[in-house]
């Protein structure tokens, strides 16, 4: 690009920015030539169940009436390199995207291109992971306290003392840091809790299994495991090391883990704990919210108010309930073993926010027969607290950032 055209686009951007500030920009008229909304689904990587399910949910919703007539959805997979996602965002903006619903790779690297997109009238909706650029909407459970709540649940199960493992996510990732900081805030209050081993499992079942197996070789007498996604692998490793002994553990939402928690056989061997963590359903909520704003059915939120909290799923062992059908009905929250693989992340559904979805939506991106898009409840949007470096820049975390919301301590430090 020559410097001349750079200046030109800067002037243009400034102009568009000013008109937006003046409130003249009504995104509701910007449509593609064939009268459909041009929406991009931008993924970072694909290949694990979580990412696929989140993407499938958006695809299924886009095929559900009336969006099947009004939305043109284009899926773009950028890989794990922020540069690739930046240039993909650029292409989307250049193509005149009305909206981008995306899993962002980095919370900071995409800020500049997102800002530019906002100025060109593209709506950005991030799900699960976040960006700190204030013009983008972040729909995420990250601030809902997975780390501290699950840590307290583990401490309660262990009676406040014991040797534990931390099975973490991806090194250097802001989500992993937030979860682990929350958990350590709790564990540090209990001198009886000893972190025997801490390893990175990359949110993957198989890696978790092997890393836990290695840690068990050094510490066969572990008393509990605090795990992020991949937790089903930790149970497998425990059973492999000693088929008669399980320990209390907390983890995320895999179907295998929920079934194990509810398994009386496993409970007798010592398994107890809670299933919580990242729900793929966030993508569907983000997409529906974006469409309602695009269609003018919902007022856009002011910049700085665009961090939206998705409620933390919280399923202790005694709350696991098998679904008889293909959706979360009558309060069920896990599927029989023959319906989905163990690594399937169960939290793809949400009866209030996403009643349109069924199992085929999450597994294959297919719409549910006869379903039509239902409007989101008026009070669906819940503001997320500030989390510096995660959903805002130059902001302060609230003092009670690690306040427990799902569980009370039953043992005192």
């Amino acid at each position: 690009m020559t410097s001349k055209s750079k200046t030109g686009s800067a002037i243009l951007a400034a102009f568009v920015g000013t008109t937006m500030l003046a409130g003249a920009m009504t995104p509701a008229d910007a449509k593609t030539a064939d009268g459909k909304w041009l929406i991009y689904l931008s993924l970072s990587y694909s290949g694990n169940s979580w990412q696929s399910e989140a993407a499938n949910i958006v695809k299924a919703l886009a095929k559900t009436a009336p969006y099947n007539e009004t939305v043109e959805l284009v899926e773009v997979i950028s890989g794990t390199d922020p540069q690739a996602q930046i240039s993909d965002y650029e292409s989307m903006i250049a193509a005149g995207a009305d909206g981008v619903v995306s899993f962002p790779i980095s919370s900071t690297a995409l800020n500049r291109v997102v800002r530019r997109g906002c100025q060109e009238g593209t709506l950005f909706f991030m799900y699960d992971a976040t960006v700190t650029e204030q013009c983008a909407y972040n729909v995420s459970y990250i601030t809902s306290g997975f780390g501290e709540n699950s840590a307290q649940a583990l401490v309660n199960e262990l009676g406040g003392k014991g040797k534990i493992f931390l099975s973490r996510g991806v090194p250097g990732n802001s989500v992993d840091e937030r979860h682990t900081n929350g958990a350590m805030h709790i564990f540090n209050q209990y001198p009886g809790i000893e972190i025997a081993a801490e390893y990175y499992s990359y949110w993957d079942d198989r890696t978790t299994q092997q890393e836990t197996a290695k840690a068990l070789a050094a510490h066969p007498d572990v008393d509990g495991i605090w795990a992020q996604a991949g937790e089903y692998g930790a149970i497998q490793a425990l059973l492999q090391a000693n088929p008669d002994r399980l320990v209390p553990m907390t983890g995320e939402n895999s179907n295998g883990f929920r079934l194990a928690l509810a398994n009386p056989d496993y409970q007798a061997k010592g398994l107890a704990g809670v299933s919580a963590g990242s729900p793929p359903a966030q993508s569907g909520f983000a997409f529906k919210l974006m469409m309602e704003i695009l269609e003018g059915k919902r007022e856009p939120l002011a910049e700085g108010e665009r961090n939206i909290q998705y409620p933390l799923p919280w399923v202790p062992a005694d709350a696991v309930k098998l679904c008889e059908g293909d959706a979360f009905e009558n309060g069920c929250n896990a599927f029989p073993e023959d319906k989905v693989p163990s690594s399937f992340v169960t939290e793809v559904f949400n009866p209030e926010l996403l009643p349109e979805l069924s199992l085929a939506s999450a597994l294959d991106g297919q719409p549910t027969e006869g379903a039509t898009i239902q409007a989101l409840p008026a009070d669906a949007v819940q503001k997320a607290p500030d989390a510096p470096g995660i959903n805002c820049r130059q902001c302060e975390a609230p003092e009670d950032i690690y306040a427990l919301t799902k569980i009370e301590p039953t043992v005192q430090p």
Binding site: A197, R206, L363, G365
Partner: protein
């Protein structure tokens, strides 16, 4: 071939050499050294945690190494014929996905499905081999392309969520013990014996080594370098598929990225085990030692209470040290020193 094997003649003359230092080959020393290093590491790990250094750690190391050894065998053969197989990760995924979707959690057809899956994987390897030999595509590019295509097919067909479960019999096999030792460790032992015989002592192994040493000379000697190279890629792909089937049984399901953690370690195990990355030289026992070393190292490191960055740095340093120590120059220097003092 007729007449006495040229190598046999050579070894006859070598046998007449009575100097002790000349009797041991550099490969043997390298292989012994690497097992020695593994033993030292395991003993030293007691300092890290009192539970380490015992039988249960050795068991864990053997168990976890098994997967790496299975796919590193194929990688070793490919490297032996001057190639490189970057499709291993995708082939592991393919083997795992085929086994969970085809078996669907039942034991029916286990006996014919496993060979069928291995055959499918081998055919993919044949495709890589044909591209490399007949179309002269560099192995690096060819196997990478095949790997990407296979992975993308898996992604497209499964929609990102591989279905199904491994056969219960395989699953039990992965958890069972036989005479107090996990069954996969027995399988590892059997595999090592077969692999050593195949690579080191069979006519096929010698032919592959000959092709790797000098393809032109091998051709003159009447060997079909192309056919042998293709065979090496087929075996490598089948070995990776085999690893995938067992991994799926180990972790009770397939995921798309399950092979990723084995691609670079499979190459590292071969090279750390004393094989030449340029082909023509190497022993499977060395590769097994390399795999054991890598696994032992990561077992100990995960028990250390240090940050992830330091763990990775330590791992890199130990591998580097092993490679430097196992170089031919070091061996020759020691040999000279030994001869002088003797």
């Amino acid at each position: 071939m007729t007449g006495p094997h040229p190598a046999a003649e050579l070894s006859d003359t070598a046998a007449k050499d009575t100097r002790t230092a000349q009797k041991v080959s550099s490969t043997t020393v390298a292989v012994l050294a690497i097992y020695g290093l593994v033993a030292v590491l395991i003993l030293a790990s007691r300092a890290v945690s009192p539970s380490l250094g015992g039988l249960s750690q050795i068991e864990t190391v053997f168990y976890l190494s098994a997967f790496l050894v299975f796919c590193a065998f194929g990688q070793g053969l490919v490297i032996l014929v001057r190639g490189l197989d970057l499709s291993i990760a995708s082939m592991i995924t393919l083997g795992a996905i085929l086994s969970t979707t085809l078996m669907g959690g039942s034991n029916d057809g286990l006996l014919y499905l496993v060979p069928a899956i291995l055959l499918v994987c081998a055919m993919v390897g044949v495709v890589s081999g044909i591209g490399i030999t007949f179309f002269a595509i560099p192995p690096f590019i060819m196997t990478m392309a095949v790997g990407i295509i296979v992975y993308s097919l898996c992604l497209g067909v499964t929609g990102g969520t591989p279905r199904g479960f491994p056969s219960p019999m395989l699953r039990e096999f992965m958890q069972d013990r036989f005479v107090g030792i996990p069954s996969p460790v027995w399988l590892l032992g059997l595999f090592v014996i077969l692999g050593t015989v195949l690579q080191g002592y069979s006519s096929l192994g010698r032919k592959l080594t000959a092709v790797g040493n000098n393809p032109a000379a091998a051709h003159v000697a009447g060997l079909s370098a192309r056919r042998l190279t293709i065979l090496a890629y087929a075996i490598s792909a089948a070995c990776a598929g085999f690893t995938g089937i067992l991994l799926a049984a180990y972790s009770n399901g397939a995921t798309l990225r399950m092979g990723d953690a084995y691609l670079l370690p499979s190459i590292a195990a071969v090279v750390v085990g004393g094989s030449s990355i340029l082909g023509g030289r190497g022993s499977f026992l060395g590769t097994v030692g390399g795999a054991l070393l890598l696994t032992t190292l990561s077992t100990i490191l995960s028990a250390l209470g240090i940050g992830q960055g330091w763990k990775t740095i330590t791992e890199g340093l130990v591998i580097l040290a092993a490679l430097i120590l196992l170089r031919d120059e070091v061996f020759t220097a020691l040999q000279t020193r030994f001869r002088r003092t003797a």
